[in-house]
């Protein structure tokens, strides 16, 4: 290997080395920056599960920080076909951690013995959540109309 060839060979190695170092530093800095962005949860689907008599919500956390649902409020608005005026909720899960960049399913169980939901019944859920960067509380409201919302999602 003479000195001219060595010059070209070492130039190529230097370019590859610089490429590696640059991508290593950029990748890790980007990961660090993206990791600090909090996302707000989105309810991407709500389904009434007949056998367990529960409304199942699928909540997506698009951010990279884990969020915690502190409280859930449940309001019922009867439709035309419904004879039921109000529902008692048997079990509302609280302190649910929402996994980062994933979907968490939460089931709100209605009291046993009460009749099934009828078409047109509206279930409104309010989620109160916090994220680890501040002590503020944030709310997400989701309205679910039985029979109508299901069909829309079916499209």
């Amino acid at each position: 290997m003479n000195r001219v060839v060595l010059f070209f060979v070492s130039s190529i190695i230097a370019i590859m080395l610089g490429w590696g170092i640059g991508s290593y530093i950029t990748y890790n800095n980007t990961i660090e920056a993206v990791g600090k962005i909090p996302g707000s949860p989105i309810v991407i689907g709500a389904v009434y599960d007949k056998p367990t008599h529960a409304v199942v919500l699928s909540i997506m956390n698009p951010g990279t920080l884990p969020l915690t649902v502190k409280e859930e409020a449940f309001t019922f608005k009867p439709g035309k076909q419904s004879s039921q005026q109000a529902y008692t909720v048997e079990h509302i899960p609280v302190n649910i951690p929402l996994i980062p960049m994933g979907i968490t399913t939460v089931a709100i169980k209605l009291k046993k013995g009460t009749p099934e939901l009828k078409t047109g019944d509206i279930v409104k859920t309010t989620l109160k959540y916090v994220h680890p960067l501040s002590k503020d509380e944030y709310f997400v409201k989701h309205g679910y109309e039985y029979g109508v919302s299901d069909k829309k999602e079916g499209k």
Partner: protein
């Protein structure tokens, strides 16, 4: 007026300013570095210190041979430099009787021990980095910092490797020139 002295004075002033700016820039780099960049700098600095002797040794040989090749003659000045370098390492008589080429080979041989140790340490670091990357050491939080140290050391090793190859390529070129040594026995 001694123009040469003035020129040298200006040169050293500029050179000193350059070094000062270098330190200023480097300290700024360290102060503003993220943790990942700091790992890189750590690897770079530690391997530069570790390979100090190799860097300057091979650089010195490459520089000497560059002069010999471009002037196409071995003057007593270059021979004396080599002799001075080998003074405490080899018997005096042997140095006096050896040819220029033999002295060069002795200098190369002296650096070989450091070269093996240096590349050995680098190889060890490469293995640890690969193991950390493929999670063979278990889930490690410091994996990405080990990789940063690896990249820094790779930069230093690249310089050492380049200078070593340059010195050896220069040696081959010098060999092909087949120069006659004028003053073999060290004197004038």
């Amino acid at each position: 007026m001694n123009y040469e002295k003035i020129t040298w004075f200006i040169f050293w002033l500029t050179f000193g300013f350059l070094i000062l700016m270098l330190f200023y820039g480097f300290s700024l780099l360290v102060l503003t570095a993220t943790s990942v960049e700091f790992a890189y700098l750590l690897g770079l600095v530690s391997f530069l210190i570790l390979g100090n002797r190799l860097l300057f040794g091979y650089g010195w040989i490459a520089n000497l041979l560059d002069n010999v090749i471009s002037f196409k003659q071995i003057t007593s000045e270059y021979r004396q430099k080599l002799e001075k370098k080998l003074k405490d390492k080899q018997p005096e008589e042997m140095i006096r009787e050896s040819s220029f080429k033999a002295l060069l080979i002795l200098v190369f041989k002296d650096l070989d021990y450091y070269r093996y140790a240096y590349y050995g340490v680098f190889l060890l670091l490469v293995l640890i980095t690969l193991m950390a990357k493929f999670n063979l050491l278990g889930e490690m939080v410091i994996g990405k910092y080990i990789e940063g140290v690896f990249w820094g050391s790779a930069t230093a090793v690249f310089f050492v490797w380049g200078l070593e190859q340059l010195a050896k390529a220069s040696f081959v070129e010098y060999n092909l020139l087949n120069l006659e040594e004028k003053n073999k026995n060290g004197g004038q």
